[in-house]
Amino acid sequence: MRLESPPAGDSTSDARSGVIGAKDRPDDLAGASDQQIVAWANAGREDAFHEIVRRYERPIFSLLYRMVRDRALAEDLAQETFIKVLNGIRSYRPEYKFSSWIFKVANNAAIDHLRRRAIDTLSLDGAPDARTPDEMQSTALQLGDERGESPLAELESRELGGQIDRAIARLRPEYRACILLRHVEGYAYEEIAQILDLPLGTVKTYIHRARNELRDYLGPVRE
């Protein structure tokens, strides 16, 4: 995975991140800004590391889950994200927004995985080296409910089987990341440009196109 430098921003966490289970934690942790938590982590407070994970596990896992649509894989990528961020906490610079940094690491993990998967084999028609119909079928990309009958697949189908999530799944990964960061996580366009390392104009274009595609996917059955 590539190395990320923290993008610019302020010291607050995003609007939807919230504080999970705040009543169970010391007052100084529950009410502290991200910057303060990071400062405590750098000073060796282990509970500050726990707090960072608790604060961001849901938004980061949700983003990754919607990016890769595989619960176990999303959890692996989320774990990889947190380990990388927490072990690199000393390289974090407080003038940057912490939430943008952690979302950047998570998004890169998802995009790296999706690129690897695309190169490895998976396509709607099966692996490039598949020679028989059986080989093609066994290596083809499986979408949504067609994936199987395992309990995990059923859970994924229940969680991501709604019309809007199925429409999001049909977007290009770059569009998917933009639309999730903008309209689910509530990031400003400028922050998304920093998180994704894209020019601001490109982010605006991606989000505009993604919304058009989503409206088209959803339109026929909603009107």
Binding site: A78, D165, K204
Partner: protein, 85 residues
């Protein structure tokens, strides 16, 4: 000759549709929607889409996630070393 029902102001841009859906578009531009059925239809679809996106649920990883992460994290000591796990 001007077409009948042609709005007197330019159509809304994608950014303006987003602002309108969020209730943040200025009054002058909002007035355009009263004139333009096409923009009103697009705006209403946009508003429904954004509402659905905002309402998407958050998911949680499996129980014990924090502990699984922390098993791989080196906590620094004030002296700059790392605490042994």
């Amino acid at each position: 000759m001007a077409m009948q029902n042609e709005p007197s102001t330019p159509h809304l841009t994608p950014a303006e549709f987003e602002l309108w859906a969020e209730g943040l578009l200025d009054t002058t531009r909002t007035m355009h929607l009263a004139d333009c059925a096409a923009c009103l239809t697009t705006g209403e679809r946009e508003r429904r889409l954004l509402r659905e996106l905002v309402q998407l649920p958050r998911f949680a990883p499996e129980f014990g996630f924090v502990e699984r992460v922390m098993a791989h994290v080196r906590v620094p000591t004030p002296s700059g070393d790392f605490r042994a796990k």
